[in-house]
Symmetry: C2
Subunit: 350 residues, 2 copies
């Protein structure tokens, strides 16, 4: 219906020029109070609101940020996205969402987004661009900020995953554990930088405590609760099973808990479990974990990007490190006193 009134309609109605209307809209001080009133009345009367597209074209900025993230189902991504959303809404920026479900998509989408003029900036969550992509972005001058990814060129917000891995492992060691498994995603993909670092932290902590690393205690599969469950079953069936598992994410840690239940292994009496991330379910399940500020990482990343858009882009540190926090809860405890090997296999309830 309503053929949306334009700035010209308002100008005509208020008996001023469109420039004046525009000034009122952008509250320029250079307009007399009386005139301003007249224009405001006209705006009111015509129920006018400026066409954002025209405005974007004219100003050359879109007031829109593209957010790209993978694996949209995982709670940690959602939590980060919430932070981003909040920050953008607060600053009246629009957020257009690109979820990446395959590697090819990632390349395609980035190529499309790189041609500026579509959005003012790019927020990449857990998706470090490769050299080619980086070149493309730089060439086109697209302001870009990464969340949960390291990068030489782009500003990024991260946590010290290696330190986190160390914290988690040390916590277990301090409790008296020696047989400590590490469960993670595959570590060789271009993503999962953080997982690799957590792994390094794990190795580091072992080394410091003079505990030899055992290959059989390091297990990988694609990310997921179910995958972790399966991996853990195997771990627990080893001749010399671990007394503690450090899972590289809470989602995976929950899978570990499932497996323990499957095999009737009591937590934390018989097996300690520590996760990483601090998603809601972790609190809920009383899971000991290394908590990272997920929501805050979204806030921070978006904040940095907005700063870049406003101020001169330089003079900021390129790396923002958010703090980690060991949250001791109910899934970690000293290892069982007797070193008896378990080979439990009774199937437990849901």
């Amino acid at each position: 219906m309503s053929a949306e009134s334009t700035i010209r309609d308002v100008a005509r109605y208020a008996n001023v020029s469109i420039a004046t209307v525009s000034r009122v809209l952008n509250n320029s001080p250079a307009v007399r109070e009386k005139t301003r009133h007249r224009v405001e009345e006209a705006i009111e009367a015509l129920d006018y609101s400026p066409n954002p597209i025209a405005r974007k074209l004219s100003r050359g900025r879109t007031h829109t940020i593209a957010v790209v993230l993978p694996l949209f189902t995982l709670p940690s991504f959602v939590e980060r996205l919430r932070g981003v959303h909040q920050k953008l809404v607060d600053n009246a920026y629009d957020l257009v969402l690109y979820s990446i479900e395959s590697d090819r998509q990632w390349d395609e989408q980035l190529a499309r987004l790189a041609s500026l003029s579509r959005v003012d900036g790019l927020l990449l969550i857990s998706l470090p661009p490769n050299d080619e992509q980086t070149a493309l972005l730089l060439e086109n001058g697209v302001p870009t900020v990464l969340i949960d990814a390291h990068h030489d060129t782009f500003r990024h917000v991260i946590v010290d995953d290696e330190a986190g891995g160390q914290m988690a492992t040390s916590h277990l060691i301090e409790l008296g554990h020696k047989r400590i498994a590490f469960l993670s995603d595959f570590l060789d993909t271009p993503f999962h930088q953080s997982m690799r670092l957590r792994y390094r932290g794990y190795r580091g902590a072992l080394a410091v405590a003079d505990i030899p690393f055992r290959d059989s205690y390091h297990v990988c599969d694609t990310h997921g609760r179910h995958e972790a469950r399966v991996l853990t079953r195997d771990l627990l069936k080893l001749d010399d099973p671990p007394t503690a598992v450090f899972a590289s994410s809470d989602t995976q840690a929950i899978g570990v808990l499932d497996a323990a239940q499957d095999l009737n292994v009591r937590i934390p009496d018989e097996l300690s479990v520590i996760g990483f991330d601090g998603i809601r379910d972790a609190e809920y399940l009383d899971l000991t974990t290394i908590e990272q500020p997920l929501y805050q990482s979204g806030i921070a990343g978006a904040g940095i990007l907005l700063d870049m858009l406003r101020n001169e882009p330089d003079g900021m540190r390129t790396e923002t490190v958010l703090p980690l926090n060991l949250i001791r809860r109910a899934t970690t405890a000293p290892p069982p006193a007797g070193r008896a090997k378990r080979t439990g296999s009774r199937k437990g309830g849901g």
Copy 2:
């Protein structure tokens, strides 16, 4: 960097008019093969890509859909959003995201979005507009589709929640349960239409089976796993506790399971639990549930909206009902044989 080349640059380079370039861009048939080639070469050479903003302004359509949803943390919303995203990406539409975290926001955002020209259409997830909002949307002619919400005016995709409530309850009744509790959100808010309908289904099934409704078996709180846990503890401490709980969402059903564990009540031997939605965790936890096609609801809703934008808007049914599915899993079973009343209170593990 690169001061993005424009259509004029291309025209100059190819020695044609901008109209011709535009024709090539929109593959109009009215351009000679030779000319087309020349233009394409120019485009290639200048690495040109059309400015989407200018295009939007000129065409009067934004090729963008706004998606509005509440409670962005809950998995069922995320799942629906994924479906929407997929459909929009497939059709090269942009998706701008508005998450609503409070009632006030809902009003504000809708008002902003109602002024067309910002987006081509609106997809509202679990957010039925009230009369005033409806009027606004109609007045401005914003194509709108609702997902998981009923409405007289707007096309919407739903499931038959009342039938679902009935299915769930009947399932329990058929297993032999008579003392069946219903756990849900508060039913009096403008949202939660579906919860109300599921409740009606519950009441209906009871009535059919001649089981009197008991007030004490109907408990409400705001949505959430924790809230459900607390409510359930109270339920189980009743003098005559239910032998089965129908939770109006899987998230809440999971809270019920938590409470059962707290009180050392065995599932399904001592208590049957059925949920609603079919989120991933439900499958994971072997939770019996009424599964609704969440992802599909997103696909369907977005599909309808896109159709509206393409074709003449009328001639489609306004209501799309997706099928429900009872998934029998491990959390429902016949009630315990002896009718002994339980008053368990031992605190269980995590």
